[in-house]
């Protein structure tokens, strides 16, 4: 018999999962057998970023649970099963599927549901709450045959839901019961401005509308009838008018429920039963239900502390929020309504630029009590710090919201923050903890995030975190050295600009102008790659050959025994029987090992350096070209069979893959580039794991960018959809050239994107909106590369002086006797050291 107690967590939502993670990271984890009930068919996912589901994120992307989390931690999870009753006398929990668990402790984390107004007709078809992934699936299905969509609720979530409907191309309206939008956070001035901004986005806003019933419509599916006698027609309705805590199970077993809903909890998050806790949106603390994730996480921590016998308690949380809706910034901090007696208010309104800012300060002008920002929320991090850390305000608090005059700096520099200042409220990370992480060896922003979790939940603190980290790096003198190597005190991007602007054509020219010494493998390869991207000369040209590492020098991939592999290009993975036969015959003639690669082509291994030219001569004669498997360049464009053969195919994916591969083959880049094209959304070519992914959809092609398989997989981002081929190619030209110009050396597009300030939106603004007025140049650079393409093997074979290099010894025709093969599964493989010795001895 184990002496462990059984702890049952009811609900595996954001807060329930956060509780499990905290518990598993604590010393008391071994005291409990943990069982959890998860009503939804999916384990916990990120509800905060739910709307990104429409932008192409999958349920898996949104998941908050690391693979194997439940197994490794020995947590029993009952999926798609709901706890239905608690028997407090006998201490059992019973589930919908009939499972009965004897418990010692319970943590209720049942969350809430979207509030659905109790009016006739509220459950008609296409009337959907906005809360779960299943709801979103319903929404997308309903949107397919709807023209008009309406959101009930003009709060934070309602406006987000409206954006989702806009993104689904519906004629969108918001119906608000209150006289203003976001009534909890905004005052009238802020709400008016927000309303006009939302209307500018093409969303209709109806305020002071009390819906009394929903009936059949005349022009649309439904007609909403309002108390003032007016009506509104719509095809679908989304409910997002506030939340209702889920407390049925608590109420049924006699726990105290707050007047306005929610399970009553104390500072330890205990309900009125000393063995039952409640956390997250189902709990009511001080008569307050928090509809935000950060307070839920704070409650989860408080419960783990309490179980561990520590003193920590939940002491309420801050309701500040920041939101970005299609480019409209909105933020609210603390008490925006100036309800504190004696508080003073400063307002700044700029009708021209559509900016409204208001701060509420204490009557001695010393402390910030609240703020509202609409149209420009850039001041949020600073104001939030003044508020949450109770930092004394500057002499003229209004300087914080007035447009900054050049002679005074009003921002609160990260250096001015005390160590106790909370930087990330979701994970309660203080500035002190960030400093510790840096002192403990974190030397990149990403590693600080990993170590502290800061900025990994709602992301609202990202800008502040970055400025704190940058400032600390600078102070620690570890100004992250971005010099490419000891020979150039510049980044790759700087070198690119020198080469571009000064039209530098050789390494020796560049190092004499901008560097020192003789160079090394790092700068030489990087510069070799830049010169090739920009001018596209033959890489084995006399002044370039010394810049290539062995793979580029011999136009083949070196293997562990010093032999090389040979990879002919097979555009789109397409190959004729004659081609296959030729490859087979050549492999047989030279005794090469053959294997189908992960990139849809055939690799021939075990060629000695002197065999490379004759092998390539034969491949070229059979119609093949270099596959650039050796270069930091385009590798393959993978394809699925597509509409030509496949019964589901929407378009000709092979045809497009072949065309794209032929266009971009030979392009030298900071790292290798992979593409794929799928013929429909079943995605058999796995395009969403590639640097450039293309999927055929009914309206054209969808373009995905910056995906990665390999060491750290990254799902590609949906960049644009319904593109015709011409626009698709234009966008790819621009994205790739921009990558080639601005990435670090050996940086795949995925990491480039992760490090790009402004991220996907920024890349879109450069490539689609031409924000940098660079698109023409990017396209013509790509066209130059396309026009000057040459098969490097063809050029090499035609040049006697280049072929001289393809011998093991300059002064002898002998081979390297260290290269020895043995047979395995009917083909050759390199002998290992033991085998090599044995064979040598036999031959001697």
């Amino acid at each position: 018999m184990s002496n462990k107690q059984t702890l049952v967590v009811i609900g595996n939502g954001m807060v329930g999962q956060n509780f499990l993670e905290n518990l598993m990271a604590s010393d008391i984890k071994s005291n409990y057998n943990v069982v959890t009930f998860c009503e939804e068919p999916l384990v916990a996912y990120d509800r905060v970023h739910l709307s990104e589901y429409f932008a192409g994120k999958s349920a898996a992307d949104l998941s908050l649970v690391e693979d194997g989390f439940f197994e490794t931690n020995d947590i029993t999870i009952h999926m798609s099963d709901k706890a239905v009753s608690i028997d407090r006398q006998n201490k059992t929990v019973t589930s919908d599927k009939g499972i009965v668990i004897d418990y010692d402790k319970i943590v209720l984390a049942t969350g809430s549901t979207a509030f659905i107004p109790p009016i006739p007709g509220n459950d008609r078809d296409y009337c959907i709450p906005y809360r779960t992934i299943a709801d979103l699936d319903d929404m997308m299905a309903a949107a397919k045959d709807s023209k008009v969509g309406t959101v009930v609720g003009g709060g934070l979530l309602g406006l987000e839901a409206a954006k989702a409907l806009r993104d689904l191309n519906l004629d969108t309206h918001v119906v608000q019961f209150a006289p203003r939008l976001m009534e909890a956070q905004l005052d009238d001035g802020g709400a008016d401005l927000l309303k006009s901004k939302i209307e500018d986005l093409g969303v209709g806003v109806l305020t002071s509308k009390n819906t009394i019933k929903i009936v059949d419509g005349d022009t649309c599916k439904h007609k909403m009838v309002f108390a003032d006698g007016t009506e509104h027609e719509t095809d679908m309705i989304l409910y997002s008018a506030g939340i209702r805590p889920r407390y049925e199970i608590a109420a049924d077993c006699g726990l105290e429920i707050a007047e306005r809903g929610g399970v009553v909890i104390d500072n330890q998050c205990l309900t009125t039963d000393a063995d039952i806790y409640a956390i997250g949106e189902c709990a009511s603390w001080n008569n307050l239900v928090y509809g935000l994730v950060a307070p839920g996480y704070a409650m989860a921590r408080a419960v783990v502390s309490h179980l561990a016998g520590e003193e920590a308690e939940f002491a309420g949380a801050d309701m500040s929020t920041k939101l970005k809706l299609n480019g409209v910034d909105v933020a609210s901090i603390g008490d925006p309504h100036a309800s504190t007696p004696g508080s003073l208010v400063y307002t700044y309104q700029n009708g021209v630029d559509g900016i409204y800012k208001r701060i509420v300060v204490s009557n001695d002008n010393k402390l910030l009590l609240g703020a509202v920002l609409v149209g420009d929320a850039s001041g949020y991090p600073t104001l939030h710090q003044y508020f949450s850390n109770e930092i004394e305000l500057p002499e003229h608090p209004d300087s914080l919201i007035l447009p900054s005059r050049s002679d005074e700096s009003v921002g609160l520099g990260p250096d001015a923050l005390p160590a106790s200042a909370q930087i990330c409220s979701c994970y309660e990370v203080t500035k002190g903890e960030i400093v510790n992480a840096i002192e403990g060896g974190c030397c990149t922003l990403a590693s600080v995030k990993d170590a502290t979790k800061a900025s990994t939940a709602c992301g609202g603190c990202a800008a502040l975190l970055k400025s704190v980290v940058d400032c600390e790096f600078e102070k620690a003198g570890m100004e992250v050295n971005t010099d490419i190597c000891e020979h150039f005190a510049y980044t790759r991007q700087d070198l690119y600009n020198f080469i571009l602007v000064e039209e530098i054509k050789s390494f020796s020219d560049l190092i004499s102008k901008h560097g020192s010494g003789k160079g090394c493998e790092i700068c030489k390869q990087a510069v070799g790659s830049i010169l090739a991207s920009q001018w596209n000369d033959y890489v084995l040209e006399k002044e370039h050959v010394g810049l290539q590492d062995t793979n580029d020098t011999f136009l083949a991939n070196i293997q562990k025994d010093g032999t090389y592999s040979v990879v002919p290009r097979m555009t789109g993975g397409e190959v004729t029987p004659e081609g296959l036969i030729a490859i087979g015959q050549i492999a047989k003639k030279y005794g090469l090992y053959t294997k189908v690669t992960g990139g849809q082509r055939v690799d021939l291994f075990g060629a000695r350096v002197d065999q490379l030219p004759p092998i390539w001569q034969e491949l070229i004669d059979a119609g093949f070209e270099s596959g650039h498997a050796y270069g930091k360049s385009l590798r393959t464009v993978k394809s699925c069979v597509g509409s030509t053969w496949c019964r589901f195919g929407v378009d000709d994916s092979v045809g497009l893959a072949v065309e794209l591969e032929n266009r971009y083959k030979g392009l030298r880049s900071p790292h290798k580039i992979k593409f794929a094209v799928s013929g429909c959304t079943r995605e058999c070519a796995e395009a969403q794991s590639k640097d450039i992914g293309v999927i055929a959809v009914e309206g054209g092609w969808s373009l995905y960018v910056c995906g990665n398989g390999g060491m750290k997989p990254r799902h590609a981002d949906l960049f644009a959809t319904n593109l015709d081929k011409e626009t698709l190619i234009k966008y790819i030209d621009r994205v790739l050239t921009f990558y080639v110009r601005t990435a670090d050396r050996l940086q795949r597009t995925s990491v480039w994107m992760e490090n790009m300030e402004g991220g996907l939106d920024y890349l879109k603004s450069v490539v689609i909106d031409d924000k940098l007025e660079l698109c023409d140049e990017l396209e013509s650079q790509m066209q130059h590369v396309v026009d000057t393409y040459q098969c490097e093997w063809k050029t090499t074979i035609g040049d006697e002086s280049k072929l001289k290099r393809f011998r093991h010894f300059v002064n002898s025709d002998k081979h390297d006797e260290n290269i020895v093969f043995v047979e395995e599964r009917g083909q050759i493989r390199p002998a290992n050291i033991e085998e090599r010795k044995l064979l040598k001895a036999e031959n001697a």
Partner: protein, 108 residues
């Protein structure tokens, strides 16, 4: 005392890069930096990968010392002494080398 052995013509060398020569049954990697009129000779054997490939590495300098980077796992070797920069206990043979009347000569 070893003698100077004739290896090849200077035209057989690769400017700013390396070649391998067979000298007295030894595989010798020879590097040529024409700007400094410098030639270097070390053994072609890379002790970290157990194969004969150093002549195919990229060359340059580390703090002014001429070096080659192994093409396999990128350790650096001093071209004058054969000592590995990452691990000074590892040293490969370095040979005397000169250019004599457009001919490359090595002492082994």
């Amino acid at each position: 005392m070893a003698n100077w052995l004739d290896v090849c013509s200077i035209d057989d060398l690769q400017p700013n890069s390396g070649v391998c020569a067979l000298v007295a049954e030894q595989q010798v990697a020879i590097f040529y930096m024409p700007e400094d009129n410098a030639v270097y000779a070390i053994n072609n054997y890379d002790p970290f990968s157990d194969i004969n490939v150093l002549s195919r590495g990229l060359i340059g300098d580390i703090k002014g010392e001429a070096m080659v980077a192994s093409p396999i796992y990128k350790q650096h070797f001093n071209l004058k002494t054969g000592v590995c920069f990452e691990d000074e206990t590892v040293k490969i043979d370095a040979y005397e080398i000169r250019i004599n009347n457009e001919r490359v000569e090595v002492k082994i």
